[in-house]
């Protein structure tokens, strides 16, 4: 074969006519027990997704018991008044279902996925877990020990270690956000069944909870089904938790978490900024995508595709916690890993990319491609019931209207280059970024100090 192909070439084809697609609009209602329900029929999605949000935020954990929300979340699937822990797991799996639960700053989330044909069974188990969790002493004790065993695994993982250090650096020590979501060894050790039960009694009730049900609901009488299952969950009325303001110290500085012998440096560079309530959000999403949303964005164009320093560096905005009055915040960050010898040069290039962006702004072409991608991928991104349910639940959790996502796509399409530039430059100001590096301090400290991106301190992984 010759080097030059012998195939017949054709000009690049043009797009056909776009077929309409809109982010699904859920139907909203309330059960007799006060539980808010959002439902959404998605034809063809045979695996139904159910998300339940509980207004049990991490800052409601009692002092010294960080992690109790996590242990409670896990304990939901460890037995009820109907089933032992082993039986409950067996019944779920018999229904072909999975049930995950986790605790985060805004509250506790349970995610059930179950084939539509077995939705009744799955919803029944979920309702039992919420309505009458066993919280047996021996099971909670096991979950606590299991959690303690997990901690060293997380500490040994460079990206998780970096995230933990960034939170500790950014937020005041008095803020729950400065501390690990799932607790520390000292706090987790103090958790027992009594503490879990007390947290549940105080913060878990249908009146402050929301369930989102998405999937192919053909032939399913969802009202009847919900009435028999989640409708049987009882609890007193209550006001939702107040959301404390989020503050952070983003004085430009560098913290190296020493990991002697590491062949790469994990980097996480961040600060906090506006959440989805802010008018700038759409422009910030757009600008952040242009900076580091994909391997053809500005950061990877240099760090990966020109220099080969990394497998990929990304910039992103991730909502930490939102409030109805718009006083919430998002984490704005850049993350990735670079090989140890090139850590200095890679960081230098990264900050040069930021400075160049601040100096010259985005181009119209960059903006156009970003909008086409962010808006165009929507039908792909929301093909599954789980994806739709996740976003609908996020909206509720963040105190946003049910049509927020649909509106965001319109806003993105209407956002110009100048706005996107301003938003991303404001999101990532070079002198207001906390840089966490998990790597071999002996090799990377001097080159990083030479960059002048802030005072460098070294933390030892004790």
């Amino acid at each position: 074969m010759t080097e030059l192909a012998t195939m017949e070439f054709h000009p690049r084809p043009q797009a056909g006519e776009a077929r309409p697609w809109a982010f699904p609009a859920p139907e909203r209602g309330t059960l007799d027990n006060g539980l808010t329900v959002l439902r959404c029929h998605r034809p063809g999605q045979q695996v139904v997704a159910v998300e339940v949000l509980l207004d049990a935020p991490l800052d409601a954990e009692p002092a010294g018991l960080d992690g109790v929300a996590t242990i409670m979340a896990r304990a939901f699937s460890e037995g009820t008044d109907q089933h032992s822990a082993e039986d409950f797991a067996a019944e779920l799996e018999r229904a072909g279902a999975t049930l995950d639960a986790h605790a985060d700053h805004p509250g506790v989330r349970l995610s059930l996925e179950v084939p539509a044909s077995r939705l009744a069974k799955g919803l029944g188990l979920l309702a039992d877990a919420l309505r009458a969790p066993a919280f047996a002493e021996s099971e909670v004790e096991r979950l606590v020990r299991n959690r303690l065993d997990e901690i060293p695994h997380e500490m040994a993982n460079p990206s998780r270690r970096a995230a933990k250090e960034l939170s500790r650096q950014l937020f005041p020590a008095s803020s729950r956000m400065s501390r690990p979501r799932q607790g520390t060894e000292e706090t987790v050790e103090g958790i027992d069944a009594g503490a879990v039960r007390a947290f549940y009694d105080r913060h878990v009730r249908p009146a402050t909870s929301t369930a989102v049900v998405v999937g192919d609901l053909t032939g399913i009488d969802l009202d009847a089904l919900l009435g028999e299952t989640l409708g049987a969950w009882k609890g007193s009325p209550a006001e939702p938790h107040a959301v404390p303001p989020v503050t952070a110290d983003d004085t430009g500085r560098v913290v190296i978490v020493d990991r002697p012998g590491a062949v790469q440096t994990q980097l996480l560079i961040g600060r906090i900024g506006p959440d989805r309530h802010d008018r700038v959000w759409a422009a910030q999403v757009l600008g952040t995508y242009c900076l580091g949303g994909t391997l053809t964005s500005r950061l990877d164009r240099v760090l990966r595709e020109e220099k080969g320093y990394t497998y990929g560096v990304r910039s992103f905005g991730q909502v930490l916690r939102s409030a109805p009055d718009g006083s919430g915040a998002a984490m704005l960050a850049i993350s990735g890993s670079v090989d140890t010898p090139n850590t200095g040069p890679a960081l230098e290039d990264l900050f040069t990319v930021l400075r160049t962006l601040a100096g010259g702004g985005l181009t119209d072409a960059e903006r156009d491609v970003a909008v086409q991608n962010l808006v165009g991928v929507a039908p792909l991104k929301y093909e599954t019931a789980a994806a739709v349910a996740g976003t609908l639940a996020d909206q509720v959790e963040q105190h946003l209207p049910d049509d927020y996502q649909a509106g965001l796509y319109r806003q993105l399409a209407g956002t110009g280059t100048v706005e996107a530039t301003a938003a991303v430059v404001n999101a990532f100001p070079v002198d207001r970024l906390v840089t966490v590096l998990v790597g071999d301090a002996a090799q990377i400290k001097a080159p990083v100090e030479a960059l002048g991106i802030g005072q460098v301190t070294v933390v030892t992984a004790e």
């Binding site: 195939m7 006519e17 020990r145 933990k164 979501r181 080969g308």
Partner: protein, 458 residues
């Protein structure tokens, strides 16, 4: 001329159908319509993976996969990524032991662009391939290796266990990521030769699934791919056949700075595409899938000797599959304690087999996994290619779940008795070395979550 036939929908396929066609240059095409969402998935499997690599050039198939994103005759530089993403699509490629796949999911009205792009690189990659891309992607792949394997605890376990389970010289002895030395040694000429040998229409299957007009789609495929020449220079991969059982326990102890002791093992199992492989899948699910499995109940719930315990199945068509055991011990528990309990559970299972309830649970779990995989157009496109490339019949994808549901408890018991035994496994034990006790907190905000738009070595 294209020709085709349509299979009727089978139980468990959710009413899905697929048609098959073949271009005169040998390119096999599979189409499946689904008009529920205005999206279309394009998936292209090349019948080449790390098993085709030769000594001294491990990692070449995966490195080459990266080069496929570096431009072709009519596509500049990173144009493949830019054009697909700019059209509102998503894309990637992955390399495994047995195949290399490339895929785009597009808004339906942008389908033709994805076909044009795939055809351009299939027919004309070498017009653009140069030293600059080679050197750059070599560095990127080496950093991929560091990030995913070398810089994380237990990161090289998969590589070590594979090397134990398949003997020296076996095509599956090494994993797709390859060694640093071999990545350094690969030359531009190696990449060119690799393309000339394996990247031909008659060594590939193209599937298109979603909101498509099959007649129009086939016409586009004929237009863009039809003139690419076929060629037959591909050498057969080295034979992957091995005896049914290893015949003795292989063992390696790794002393490394890891957070806890671990026991991992690979059991030699039947090849993919057989009823015995489906039976093994069910056996592993009963024993170690999810939180109601026998090993989880025994080690994590009752004995409380493990943090996590589970079994996975690596299905392989060209060599024995592997049953993958992964146990991280709790606290100060020693490996022999966990190992004895596992052997006891496996022996008991080989004797008594699964209960009716365990069968029901395992089958329900595997059925849901299939529904998940077939629930997206991209998942469906990938499975159609998989069955076409590995087993010669894409229709098998639509009936796979049915075959899992037909397996009997006795078949599950029998495969466990025959294969899940100490003399049929390679064992990897991790013993932590003193690196200093670590600070006791952690953060689960996975702020460094990896993006899904990078080429991946599976």
């Amino acid at each position: 001329m294209p020709m085709g036939h349509t299979a009727t929908a089978e139980a468990g396929s959710g009413g899905l159908t697929a048609t098959e066609h073949r271009l005169s240059n040998g390119l096999r095409v599979v189409l499946s319509e689904d008009h529920l969402t205005p999206v279309a998935a394009v998936c292209l499997w090349y019948d080449v993976g790390s098993r085709h690599e030769v000594k001294g050039r491990t990692g070449l198939a995966h490195l080459f996969e990266h080069l496929m994103f570096q431009g072709s005759a009519q596509v500049q530089g990173n144009g493949h990524f830019e054009l697909v993403q700019g059209a509102g699509g998503s894309l990637n490629g992955t390399t495994s032991f047995e195949r290399t796949n490339y895929f785009e999911t597009m808004p339906a009205h942008q389908l033709e662009l994805a076909l044009w792009l795939e055809a351009d690189r299939m027919g004309s990659l070498l017009a653009a391939l140069d030293d600059e891309s080679m050197e750059n992607q070599r560095d990127v792949v080496k950093n991929e290796r560091r990030q995913r394997y070398d810089n994380v605890p237990y990161g090289t376990a998969f590589e070590r266990l594979t090397a134990l389970a398949y003997p020296e010289g076996h095509p599956y002895h090494h994993t797709p990521i390859g060694s640093m030395a071999d990545l350094d040694a690969a030359t531009l000429e190696d990449a060119r030769a690799f393309f000339r040998t394996y990247y031909a229409p008659n060594n590939a299957v193209l599937s298109v699934v979603g909101d498509i007009d099959p007649v129009q789609t086939l016409a586009w495929i004929e237009k863009y791919f039809g003139s690419i020449a076929s060629h037959d220079g591909k050498p057969a991969p080295r034979d992957g056949a091995l005896p049914d059982v290893i015949g003795g326990q292989l063992r390696e102890v790794v002393e490394e700075e890891v957070p806890a002791r671990a026991l991992m093992a690979a059991y030699r199992l039947p090849q993919d595409g057989t009823c015995a492989c489906d039976a093994a899948d069910l056996a592993l699910t009963v024993l170690g899938g999810g939180e109601s499995s026998r090993l989880y109940n025994r080690l994590v719930r009752r004995d409380r000797t493990a943090v996590a315990a589970g079994f996975g199945l690596l299905r392989l068509a060209g060599a024995p599959s592997l049953g993958w055991l992964d146990v991280k011990t709790s606290g100060d528990v020693e490996v022999p304690v966990v190992e004895a309990a596992i052997d006891e559970e496996l022996a008991r299972f080989a004797e008594e087999g699964p209960t009716a309830e365990e069968m029901e649970r395992a089958q329900a779990q595997l059925e849901r996994e299939w529904l998940d995989r077939l629930g997206t157009v991209a998942g469906r496109a990938d499975e159609l290619c998989r069955y076409a490339v590995l087993f010669g019949d894409p229709q098998l994808a639509l009936t796979a779940v049915q075959r899992v549901l037909e397996v009997t408890p006795e078949e599950v018991r029998a495969i466990a008795e025959a294969r899940l035994r100490p003399d049929n496994r390679a064992v990897l034990v991790y013993e932590p070395v003193a690196g200093g006790a670590q600070d006791a907190d952690a953060q689960d905000a996975d702020a460094a979550a990896t993006d899904d738009t990078e080429e991946a070595a599976k």
